[in-house]
Subunit: 245 residues, 2 copies
C-alpha cells in the first residue's frame, strides 16, 4: 500500500515532504494555473517553462518567446496570455514553448523543485482521471500540494485533493491517514454533486466572479475534459507532456 | 463589524497576520496544551510561563520551579507534569507559577509573540464560551491560530475554530470571509453532535488513544467546563488569568 497525503500550502511543504525520491507530488491550482497549463497542452503547446518572477517573464518576452503572466488574477500588460484557459488556442500555441508565471501556481512548482527530488506532475479537475491513472501506474507515495492563495488555504484546491484521494483509495492501492486528507474527503463528499454552488461564497471564486470570469470558473470545475498529463522535467526546467495510456 | 479568521498552522501565521494592534489572537491546541493550561488555572495556578525549548524547561526545574514538559505526547522525565489535564491538581498548583513547554502549543504562542503586538488569549473547548465572551467584549478582529501538529494541519483545533466562529457570527458583531473560516464551520456543523465519533480516525486522537489516554480525550472535548480566560501578558512573558464577567 502507498500513502496519499495533502498539503494545504506551499509554506507547509517542508512539514509534509518526506522520502522525496519515493514521492510523486501533484501540484494543483484549480483557479487557474494548473487548469490553464492543461489547456495550453490541449492547444498543442510542446512545453511550458514555469518562471517565478515577473522579471524573468519580461526577459523571456524580450527574447521573443510567448509569455503568460498573471498577478492577483489579472493579466500582466506585457504578456501574450493571462491566466484564462480560453486564451490558449491552437492558433497561438501549436508547436510552441510557453513561458508561464502566475501568483501561486508557479511558485508551488518551484517550492518542490528547490526542496528535493520528488517527481512533479500538474493536476486539475480538467485532467483528474489522467492524474489518477498516472499515480496508480507509478506506484509511489502521493503528496498533493495545493498552490493556495499567497500561501493561504484555498478550498478549490482542497476539493481537487478530496476528489483525487477518493479515486486513489477506491483503487485499493492507497491509504490516507492524515487529518488534511480526512478533511479533504469530507469536503469533497459534500461538494461533489454541485461544486459550483458549494464554492459560490468562497474567496477566489469571488475574486474571479468580480472580474466577470464565470466562464473560466465553469471551465476550471469541469472534470476530465482534457486527457493529458503535464509532468515537470527537472533537467530541462520544463513542463512537458506525458502520454497517458 | 469585525472580522474573524482562522490560520491552520503557526507556519502560516505570517500570511494571515494583519493590523496586529487591532487583532486578538486565540491560540488553540485542543489536544492538549491549551486545555491543560486552562486546567492549571482551574487548579489555582497564578501564572503559566510558556517556554519553547526543553533546555529552558530543564533550567527552570534546576532553579526549583514547577515544570510541565511534553514532547510527542509523552511527559519528559525531568518534569513535574506532562500534558494530561488530570495531573493539574490544586494540591500541586494552588498559588504557584508553572513553567510549561509542549510540542506545539507553546511554540504557537511564541510565533505570535515574536511577530507582532497582537493580543493573545488561550482557547480550548473547555473554555469556549469564556473565549467567545472576551472576543465580543474586546471588539477587535479575531484570528484563531491552530497549534496543529509540528506545523501540520490538525482537525481538532479546526473544529474548535468552527465552534468559536459559529458563536461569534451568531452574536451579530463578526463576519468571516476566508476559505479557512468557511471550511471550519462546515466541519464543525458536521462534527458537533458527536465530536468523539467524528474524530475517532484522526491523527492526534490515535496518538493519544495508543497511549491509553481516553480520559484526556474526553476531558479535552467537553465544552465550557472551565469558565476561565488565560491571557498572555507580553511585558511579563507570562500567561495570567483574566476575570471573565
Amino acid at each position: 500500500m502507498k500513502s496519499i497525503n495533502i498539503c494545504f500550502s506551499p509554506a507547509l511543504y517542508p512539514y509534509y515532504s518526506q522520502n522525496d525520491d519515493k514521492t510523486l507530488v501533484v501540484v494543483v491550482d484549480v483557479f487557474r494555473a494548473s487548469t490553464t497549463i492543461c489547456a495550453a497542452f490541449a492547444a498543442g503547446a510542446v512545453a511550458v517553462c514555469p518562471v517565478k518572477s515577473l522579471n524573468e517573464a519580461v526577459q523571456a518576452k524580450a527574447r521573443g518567446s510567448l509569455v503568460a503572466a498573471e498577478r492577483n488574477a489579472d493579466k500582466c500588460d506585457f504578456a501574450d496570455f493571462g491566466n484564462s484557459p480560453f486564451d490558449y488556442t491552437p492558433e497561438k500555441l501549436y508547436g510552441k514553448t510557453l513561458f508561464f508565471t502566475s501568483t501561486n501556481g508557479t511558485s508551488a512548482i518551484e517550492t518542490v523543485n528547490n526542496s528535493n527530488s520528488a517527481e512533479i506532475i500538474i493536476g486539475a479537475f480538467v485532467n483528474l482521471q489522467a492524474v489518477a491513472d498516472f499515480c496508480i501506474e507509478r506506484g509511489k507515495n502521493i503528496l498533493i500540494l495545493c498552490a493556495g492563495w499567497k500561501n493561504r488555504f484555498s478550498i478549490e484546491d482542497t476539493l481537487f485533493g478530496g476528489a483525487l484521494i477518493e479515486i486513489l483509495i477506491a483503487s485499493g492501492y492507497f491509504t490516507a491517514n492524515s487529518d488534511s486528507a480526512y478533511v479533504s474527503q469530507i469536503l469533497w463528499k459534500q461538494a461533489k454533486d454541485n461544486i459550483f454552488n458549494f464554492l459560490k461564497d468562497t474567496e477566489h471564486f469571488s475574486r474571479l466572479k468580480n472580474r466577470v470570469l464565470d466562464n473560466d470558473i465553469h471551465f476550471c470545475l469541469q472534470k476530465n475534459t482534457i486527457n493529458l498529463l503535464p509532468i515537470f522535467n527537472k533537467s530541462k526546467n520544463l513542463i512537458e507532456l506525458c502520454s497517458v495510456g
